[in-house]
Every structure is written in C-alpha cells, then in structure tokens.
Symmetry: C2
Subunit: 206 residues, 2 copies
C-alpha cells in the first residue's frame, strides 16, 4: 500500500505521515527525496529544497525587469528538479509499501492507486505548531507566521494544479481528509491504521 500525504503548512501532515509509517512498519519519504534528488542531479541540497514543490509558472519569463536568460534557467532547473523528483517517487513506490509526503505523489503515482490523505488545520493550531518548531533567531509575529503558511500553501496548490485537474484540498481528490485542529496527532494514529486496514480488507465493489 502506497500512502500519499498532501498537507497544509503547519497542519502536522509530516508528523502524521511519519507516525502512520512507523505504526505500519513501512518507510516514510519526505526530506530524503530532496537529499536523493540533490545527490543524483549533483545540485546543492538547499537549492533543490528551495525549488521543490514550487509553482512552476512563477519561473516563466514574464516579469519585466528580470533577466530573460536567468528566468529561463530557473524555469529549466525547476522543471528538471520536478522531473527528477517524480522519477524518484516512481522508483520508491516500486520498492514497496511506503508513505510519501507532498510532491503531488497522489497524482504522479495515480496508476499505482495510492491511498491519498489530505491534512489540514485551523489557524490557531498552525500557529502553535509553527511556534513549537521556531528557530531561536526567527521571531515572527502571528500575522507573519500565518502569511508564511498561506504563501507556502499557495505554492503547493499551484504545484499540484500543474499536474492535476482536481483542486488541492478539495475532499473529492482524496480518500481521507483529516483536520488536526486542537488534536494530539499520535492519538489519531491507531484508528487511522484501523481505517486503512478496513479499506484494504474491503473487496472493491464493481
């Protein structure tokens, strides 16, 4: 079973994916994807990270005042990183059951019929989560944190829309959408595992 996790920034989607993978005894791929692509493409890790899951359209040379050649290079790089990531997703899925966080894996791996989860949360929960992992030299106001959340989600939505006609975060595009607002994620894992097992056990109705 391949499980994909799409997630709003700050919703705890990564924690949920990691805990779910641990409970199922299967690997969870997230930042490792960036490391692997950086190594394979011989690119700097931070650079790959900065280009990953971004709206490809922003790299198109439409902004007046930007270097046309430079923009074209960024566009080519962004696209080649996306291609390398998607190739890697297919290789990882080929290797066996796993959880994959982000990177439009729900669309890229559609032929393998993954179980697609979307994770979201309200603003209060996102603030709490972002504050908990804030670096000591990073002192953002609540408003700045929420602006960052929205900005990253906007990129993720745009990245997803480049590959799928189904709207990012629209219930119909996923098997299960989980709202983690005010919840301790680890308490939700056992019933989620039970849900996945029931889903797998059930004979598909034709």
């Amino acid at each position: 079973m391949i499980i994909t996790i799409s997630r709003e920034f700050g919703s705890g989607g990564r924690e949920l994916g990691k805990r779910l993978a641990d409970a199922l005894g299967i690997p969870c791929y997230d930042h490792q994807i960036i490391d692997m692509v950086a190594e394979k493409e011989k690119l700097n890790r931070d650079y790959v990270s900065s280009m990953s899951e971004k709206d490809i359209k922003v790299f198109y040379p439409t902004t007046i005042g930007c270097s046309f050649a430079g923009m074209n290079y960024a566009l080519r790089q962004s696209m080649s990183i996306a291609v390398a990531e998607h190739d890697l997703l297919r290789e990882l899925a080929e290797m066996g059951d796993c959880v994959i966080i982000g990177r439009a894996a729900d669309v890229v791996l559609a032929e393998r019929r993954p179980f697609n989860i979307f994770v979201c949360a309200d603003d209060a929960s996102k603030l709490r989560r972002c504050r908990a992992r804030e670096r000591s030299d990073e002192q953002l106001t609540d408003r700045e944190i929420l602006r960052k959340c929205r900005s990253i989600d906007k990129q993720r939505r745009a990245y997803h829309s480049a590959y799928s006609p189904m709207a990012w975060g629209s219930a119909a595009g996923y098997h299960l959408c989980i709202n983690t607002s005010g919840q301790d994620i680890k308490t939700l894992i056992p019933p989620l595992v039970a849900y996945l097992e029931a889903w797998q056990r059930s004979e598909p109705i034709k």
Copy 2:
C-alpha cells in the same frame, strides 16, 4: 457529541450517517426533519422536501417572464422553511447526542462545536448507488444520473454558501472527509467509531 454529515448526492452519506448513529446508539435525523417541519408549519411534506436544501437565490425575482408576486412568495416560503429547519436543528441538538444529515447543520450548530464529516465518492460509485435505489418507473441513462447528481450538489453547495464562507466540500471546513468510492460503507464504521472516540478522548491542545 453532535455529528453532522454533509454529502455529495449518491456518495452514501446518508447510509454512513445512519450506520454511524446505530453504532453509537444515538438518533440520526434526515427525512424526519422534513416531516417535523411540514407538521409544524402546516405545509405539505413533498412541498417542504422540494424546497429544502435549495439555493435560496434562485427564488429571487430576477427571471424575466416569471410572475414577480409568485417568485416573491416562493422566496418567502423557501426562507421560512430554512428558518424552521434551523430552529428544529437547534432543538434536536439540545435534546442530546445525535447525527444530523445535511441542512448546513455544520454551520447552523457551529456554537455547539459539532464533529463535521463530509462524504464524497467518484462517479462510478454514485452511478452504482443511484441504480441500486432507482424506482422501476425511472429509467435514466448514466449521463442523466450524473447530471442529476451534479445538479443536486450544485443546490447543496449554494445552500451551504448562503450560511458559510467556507466552501462546501473543501477539506478545511470539516473534521473528516471520507471518500466512499468502491467501498462497502459498513466496513468503514468500526474504525470511524474508534476515530471519533479518540477525538473525544484527546484533551484539546490550547
């Protein structure tokens, strides 16, 4: 615990709500709401049903060629039925734990902090479900059935949007969104009950 079910037409949301209520040993309100409102307002049951969960805007007198007075009457009726339904929802919620299907109960009862579920499914599953409950004198083609599904969902979306800024069927507006595609709903009930219990057990994080 008040549980609200919003659902795409043909997704099995009503069955899921009914089975969930049975498993929890609490009442489930769906068609009963129409019966109760019809009785209270001294209106014909089928008439209340035909006006329920409809886009209120369609009754506004903007269509050229329609009777202004007649449209105004329909608008007034549609609004008074919605008001009566919402008053009733509050009374039912006051009486104790229950499952409520549709009628924007997620928004109307927001102050009681209900657990809001959205149920959706793919076209193949909707077709199968609609065929299974088709009347013998109703012979629709697949295309006609799906058109009917979309038309009813459009009404439900519009009805919901009259009361909430959150888009109908957008993951962020619900605690859990369940896709029933190709699934036998009764197998999903035990893990769903476990999920609800875990949710209730968990202390809300401030």
